[in-house]
């Protein structure tokens, strides 16, 4: 009997949380299709997301003190069985992903209804659930191949979700196709890397991998695997210059999809990068290889500037925000590249803070699109007068994007600059604030467009329904809340950074 083999098998519901985190949305997807009702589909999707959020919060509560939960699927002990391993780093990301999903869904009801034909709604929500499953699975699992499987689940459903934008703008189809090609290349690189690791070590469990790589040292196969994995995941994370799929995908996807993906998908990829860099390959490996200093940091700085400058010249607000996302990913990578407690904390907390900021902004644009029918500046200009609430929320999100004190963005920027100063990297500190100033320019472009121009004539007047407005404001206020009360975010980020810097804790027996 399984119960006698391992203490992990005799479980209360609490102990089942790691698997429920992934299983609940996974079961919801086919259920939505079977029920085949539009109304039920939304209710189920929302209920599932809310449940996932509660589970993630419970999990984070258990690991915030630095402990680790190891869950064995089906009672099979790792490294042969699949292990779900929850620590502060991934519990924090689980919280972000499920939280964003739970807040985006109420907003989705009206927004989806206005952008996607009714007959597609059930399948849309099913796909959304699969995407959520994939993202949560990637984060929760402790098995490298499992990461790949869930990554593909989320990617394939994402392509479909983006293509749904074609009902509003046909270019969504090419955007989705582009992303399909690029995403597949990324996944292929990733799986090649995994194959090499398996060849070199004979295992796929991350903790076991870490032990064996540490034992045998860095041979050429392992180094090549590292390269493949970084490039593959870098593509999914839109690491500059592997970001080319992102602007179109974010611009043409339905507003709901953009809001959800912008806040979660790239963040999950960043998490996987972190996990492989620090837990599988160990910090010492990174030090010896100088990967970070000579590869990640220059690219991060380049992203911060090039993408910000491109953002300044955009005439479509969604695309502007998409380029801003690429720049912000640069901040996270910069924090990772510092390879210090402060730097990693900055990266992880920025991952969260930028997630909520971008969710607020993209939902805000979605609301403008709901009325204006497009996100070009000449469509949405002057809407500060006709949609004061939405516009005010966008301004709050924009301030957080700049990193004005009192907003979430400020906290991460503060840590980032402090991390740079600790290392004595003066020029980097200056570059960080210089690039925030570029953010001021593009955010103010939005503010002036919304408030200081006259609205186009043919636009429906009035605010969006409350079911959209309230989620936007929850996110906007979250940007302020997490800028003032930082116990949760900083606490989790610091614990996560500490855990990651300590390297792998090895197999737990």
């Amino acid at each position: 009997m399984a119960t006698e083999l391992t203490p992990h098998a005799a479980m209360s519901l609490t102990e089942q949380l790691p698997v429920l985190q992934v299983l609940v949305p996974f079961m919801a997807a086919p259920l939505i299709v079977f029920l085949g009702s539009r109304g039920l589909a939304w209710i189920l999707a929302f209920g599932t997301s809310a449940a996932a959020f509660v589970i993630a919060a419970l999990l984070l509560g258990q690991v915030l003190d630095g402990s680790v939960i190891s869950y064995h699927i089906g009672g099979w002990a790792p490294p042969l069985g699949i292990e779900y391993r929850i620590d502060a780093a991934n519990a924090f990301v689980l919280l972000l992903v499920s939280g964003i999903s739970a807040i985006v869904l109420p907003y989705a009801r009206e927004s989806v209804a206005s952008e996607i034909p009714r007959r597609h709604h059930t399948l849309f929500y099913a796909c959304y659930m699969l995407c959520l499953t994939g993202l949560l699975g990637v984060v929760a699992t402790g098995d490298a191949f499992n990461v790949f499987v869930f990554l593909e689940i989320s990617s394939l459903s994402t392509y479909v979700l983006i293509a749904q934008g074609s009902h509003r703008d046909k270019r969504a189809l090419t955007a989705a196709y582009d992303y399909l090609i690029m995403g597949t290349i990324g996944a292929t690189f990733f799986v090649i890397g995994l194959g090499m690791l398996y060849m070199a070590t004979g295992t796929l469990n991350m903790a076991d991998l870490a032990d064996r790589i540490a034992d045998q040292g860095a041979n050429r196969t392992v180094v090549a695997a590292f390269g493949f994995i970084i490039v593959g995941m870098g593509l999914k994370a839109a690491l500059y210059p592997l970001h080319l799929w992102l602007p179109n995908a974010y611009t043409y996807a339905p507003s709901v999809v953009t809001s959800f993906l912008a806040a979660t998908a790239t963040k999950v990829a960043i998490y996987v990068l972190l996990r492989f860099m620090f837990s599988v390959f160990q910090p010492t490996f990174l030090f010896e290889g100088n990967t970070l200093e000579f590869l990640i940091i220059p690219l991060a700085v380049l992203a911060m500037f090039a993408a910000s400058v491109i953002a300044i010249f955009q005439t479509d607000m969604k695309r502007l925000l998409a380029y801003s996302s690429i720049a912000q990913i640069g901040y996270m990578l910069l924090g990772i590249g510092m390879l210090s407690q402060t730097g990693l904390t900055a990266a992880i907390v920025h991952l969260f803070n930028h997630g909520i900021t971008k969710a607020a902004l993209f939902m805000g644009v979605g609301a403008l699109v709901f009325r204006a029918g497009g996100s070009f500046f000449d469509r949405i200009q002057g809407m500060g007068k006709t949609m004061p609430w939405t516009s005010a929320a966008i301004v709050l999100g924009g301030l957080s994007l700049i990193g004005v004190p009192g907003t979430a963005g400020f906290v991460s920027k503060w840590y980032l600059v402090q991390g740079a100063l600790e290392k004595g990297w003066w020029p980097v500190a200056v570059l960080i604030v210089a690039s925030s100033l570029l953010a001021v320019i593009y955010v103010w472009h939005i503010v002036e467009t919304l408030y200081l121009k006259t609205p186009a004539k043919d636009i429906a007047v009035g605010e969006v329904p409350n079911s959209m407005l309230i989620p936007i404001w929850i996110m906007a206020l979250a940007c302020i809340y997490f800028g003032l009360a930082t116990d949760i975010t900083l606490g989790a980020a610091q614990a996560a950074a500490k855990g990651l810097l300590a390297g792998s804790s090895g197999m737990l027996h």
Binding site: I402, G483, L490
Partner: protein, 488 residues
């Protein structure tokens, strides 16, 4: 009332007034009445704090711990209390003036205007009572953002351009320079609390002290130290009540107040004197004083002239800090009050002239003194206070600054202050002479008095009277401020 409650109320009341302006946007009289009540209540709260605390330093009131060791916290100390008294007191007058001006001048968007105005006052209160550099920086940025809509108020291309310059310079300097300075300070000192005698002694040495000071001095763009002064004249596109309160009192004074706070409580006057790190700043301030005065003489637009005059006067306060003597710091602190009272009078007079005659250029104002004697009389008193002649308040702060310069043996600085006074005479008094003694072509000999509505002319008359009153209470203000320069 408890001191801490009162502190919170000084920030909350204007914030609530800001909200009420939006909620009551369609009920003009009620809306403006509520804001007036909030202004009076805020002033009373500040007076309550004064009664409770006097010129001692209160317990720190911590609201949030934002980052480990970095609190959003308030604390009362004499300099901040003085600033709060001035700002909240003048808010009452400016509100009356603002209502009169906006109605008399048929400006649009009253609700938005007064809402942003109140929010700006809330952030000024936050700045005045900030217990550490982090809290101050937070409210400093809120002040910039809440005043931006006021500068862009008219929505004309000119206003939008002016507002862009305003925001660009203020946000650019504060994030680009001041933020680095703040984080740097935190990295080496491990704290940002305002502490008597400073927190940096022994933590930093050599030329880096001067570099850090430079990051602060230029990063505090609101102090309008040259070459970062362009935003001030650019902001003059705003309606005059904004220029009066915000760009003669709140915004610019927030700048020099921050400058004094940094000099006194972050670096410490003695530390600055020992290291000589502020000598360059003293020379730059002196240059700003003279150069801005010279530029002011070339401006025909009255508000532009006053703007450059403000740039010059602000550098008096920076100079007071950079002298690194206790007399200089006290003079700088007192000049915040004296200049505020004088300059707000001048700006409100400019607005009064505009409401009554729609004239903006000095060359058009010939003979106006005959029909607007109260406005021009108030202008004369305000001008004399700015120049620094007795019996106006401005004479004392200038006196202290000269004493401070004499303490350090900086004779050139004394000369600069004197030359500046002469320049002030040259660019402020001609308007009064032109108004009273020359005959305007379009004004008949037997013209009747034609002042603007009472809501517009009364406030400058009150502040002009205030300039005289301050002359007799300068000694009290000096005693009140004296604890700020006591050694640690």
């Amino acid at each position: 009332m408890e001191t801490n409650t009162a502190i919170l109320l000084t920030v909350l009341l204007p914030t609530l007034a800001s909200v009420s302006n939006i909620v009551l946007r369609n009920q003009e009289n009620l809306r403006d009445g509520v804001t007036f009540a909030a202004a009076v209540a805020t002033f009373l709260c500040v007076l309550q704090i004064l009664a409770n605390v006097g010129n001692t330093t209160s317990e720190t009131l911590v609201l949030f711990e934002v980052l480990p060791g970095l609190d959003l916290a308030f604390q009362v100390e004499p300099l901040g209390l003085l600033f709060a008294i001035i700002a909240s007191g003048l808010w009452i007058l400016t509100h009356v003036y603002g209502v009169g001006y906006m109605r008399g001048n048929k400006e649009s968007h009253h609700a938005r205007f007064f809402s942003c105005f109140s929010l700006a006052i809330a952030s000024v209160m936050g700045i005045a009572f900030a217990a550490n550099m982090f809290t101050l920086f937070l409210f400093y940025e809120v002040l910039t953002l809440s005043t931006y809509p006021l500068v862009a108020h008219k929505g004309t291309p000119e206003a939008i351009r002016g507002a862009r310059t305003y925001l660009g310079i203020l946000i650019g300097t504060s994030i680009g320079l001041q933020l680095i300075a703040v984080i740097w300070t935190y990295a080496i000192a491990g704290t940002l609390d305002f502490t008597r005698g400073g927190i940096l002694e022994g933590k930093i040495a050599g030329p880096m002290v001067a570099v850090l000071l430079a990051l602060y001095a230029f990063g505090i763009g609101k102090a309008a130290l040259m070459p970062f002064h362009r935003w001030l004249p650019a902001a003059m596109v705003a309606p005059t009540p904004v220029s009066a309160l915000l760009h003669a009192v709140a915004v610019v004074k927030a700048g020099v107040f921050t400058m004094l706070k940094v000099g006194i409580y972050i670096f410490g006057i003695d530390f600055l004197a020992e290291t000589g790190a502020s000598v360059w700043l003293m020379w730059l301030a002196a240059f700003s004083i003279v150069a801005a005065s010279v530029v002011a003489m070339t401006k025909d637009n009255l508000k532009a002239r006053l703007a450059y005059s403000t740039v010059s006067q602000l550098s008096y306060i920076t100079l007071g800090m950079a002298l690194a003597t206790s007399m200089g710091a006290l003079g700088g602190g007192m000049h915040i009050a004296m200049h505020a009272m004088g300059k707000i009078t001048l700006f409100m007079c400019a607005g009064s002239i505009y409401v009554a005659t729609h004239k903006t250029n000095i060359s058009q104002m010939t003979g106006l003194g005959r029909i607007m004697p109260i406005t021009f009389g108030a202008f004369l008193i305000g001008a004399l206070s700015i120049i620094g002649l007795p019996p106006m308040g401005g004479s004392w702060s200038k006196w202290l600054l000269v004493m401070g310069a004499a303490d350090t043996g900086q004779w050139v600085m004394i000369a600069v202050l004197m030359v500046s006074s002469l320049l002030n005479v040259a660019y402020l008094l001609p308007l009064v002479g032109r108004g009273f003694f020359l005959k305007g072509a379009d004004i008949p000999d037997n013209a009747q008095m034609a002042e603007a509505p009472w809501m517009v002319w009364l406030p400058p008359a009150v502040t002009a009277f205030g300039c005289v009153v301050l002359f007799f209470f300068a000694g009290d203000i000096q005693t009140f401020l004296s604890p700020i320069v006591l050694p640690r």
